[in-house]
């Protein structure tokens, strides 16, 4: 069990011609891929184009993906190569070459968020951020801790269970309840927008 198993299932279904399965892979990794590409291509519109190209390349090449590495690792390499090729084509120097997703937490996302989009989107983005921060603070400690360990520290359920000294099933339930609460809080902000 793990990302590899579920991703491999989606990969196999994509190989068999199921486009919905690939849509789920896009849904799952789009945030990370765009964030990664924005380290090379700062212009948001360009970053979107490059990200789209990266996903298209992945789709075309997916029959060659044997599953030796995790899908995200493979996708990550495609994204970096696509971004670098884009910069070479545009005869520009990349902003940063030593891309590592774990380092990217320091990326100045607030400023990029503000520069990125229309004023309306900026407002929605700011509202979302504020709502999530407020709701996170109001969550019971065990829910907030479980979600933070998963989303920010990238721990597996097993590891979280060890840290929190509780069964894996409890971890799964806590993370879900945290997400459920956050989801309810952001729905009014997201409704009417095209975020989902």
């Amino acid at each position: 069990m793990g990302d590899r198993t579920s991703d491999q299932l989606l990969v196999e279904r994509t190989k068999a011609g199921d486009k919905h399965a690939f849509d789920l892979l896009v849904l799952k990794y789009q945030h990370r891929i765009i964030k990664l590409i924005m380290r090379y291509v700062r212009d948001p519109a360009e970053a979107m184009d490059v990200s789209q190209e990266a996903f298209l390349k992945a789709y075309r090449a997916i029959p060659n993906f044997r599953g030796d590495s995790a899908f995200y690792t493979w996708m990550y390499r495609i994204a970096i190569n696509t971004a670098k090729n884009h910069l070479v084509a545009a005869r520009r120097r990349p902003l940063e070459y030593a891309a590592d997703i774990s380092e990217s937490e320091d990326f100045e996302w607030h400023s990029s968020l503000q520069d990125a989009d229309s004023p309306e989107r900026q407002v929605i983005g700011t509202d979302l951020l504020r709502t999530i921060e407020t709701t996170m603070e109001s969550l019971p400690d065990e829910l907030r801790a479980a979600l933070t360990l998963r989303e920010l520290d990238g721990l597996t359920y097993d590891e979280i269970a060890q840290v929190m000294e509780c069964p894996v099933g409890t971890v799964r339930s806590r993370i879900f309840r945290a997400r459920e609460t956050l989801d309810k809080s952001i729905r009014p902000v997201m409704d009417g927008s095209d975020f989902t």
Partner: protein, 190 residues
């Protein structure tokens, strides 16, 4: 009761997003996700929550982006390379047109080269053969000789041939007679 089922599915969704859903639940959930738009929206929001917490730019990565990617895949008729699925119509027809064009050019070239090198008589003979081949079978036979008469003549010639050469091909005699039968049968069917 229904709310419990929905919550249970949403909990599976949460575990799926983390890659922690047991295999036994995985297949069914993926199938649900394929046909349930609302469930996909929930998954997208859960994913966005994670993105916001990790300080990823979720204002860019929204449904519009996914739609763009999926539209590009559909509109450009992109198929995974080496896919075993049905070829996109446009790609298949391009291939077919290309093949036909290549075959036509090759045939034209071969005929052209052959005609340049060949003696005039042979070219003329080829043209006559081509003209005959283009005609329906019934019109190929000479109108002055009836089909029955011609068939009779051929039969006599074949018999004469077998009698003349039978001594040299005794072991194959049966085969030759059979061949004759087949020839006659074919004529009969015509």
């Amino acid at each position: 009761m229904e709310a419990d089922v929905t919550r249970n599915i949403e909990e599976q969704l949460s575990a799926f997003l983390d890659g922690e859903l047991p295999d036994a639940e995985l297949e069914l959930l993926v199938r649900r996700l394929e046909r349930d738009q609302e469930l996909r929206s929930t998954l997208a929001r859960y994913s966005a929550i994670g993105g916001i917490l990790r300080k990823e730019n979720v204002t860019l990565t929204n449904a519009a982006f996914r739609s763009r990617v999926m539209r590009a895949i559909s509109e450009e008729s992109i198929a995974p390379e080496g896919s075993t699925g049905v070829q996109p119509v446009r790609a298949a027809s391009k291939w077919r047109v290309g093949s036909m064009l290549a075959a036509a050019v090759t045939a034209f070239t071969v005929i052209g080269v052959y005609q340049l090198d060949a003696p005039v008589d042979l070219v003329q003979a080829d043209l006559e053969v081509a003209a005959v081949l283009d005609k329906p079978l019934s019109s190929v036979n000479s109108p002055s000789v009836s089909t029955d008469q011609k068939s009779k003549e051929n039969s006599e010639r074949m018999t004469s041939y077998l009698v003349s050469h039978g001594e040299f091909s005794r072991s194959l005699q049966g085969t030759m007679v059979d061949s004759r039968v087949f020839i006659q049968q074919a004529r009969f069917e015509e």
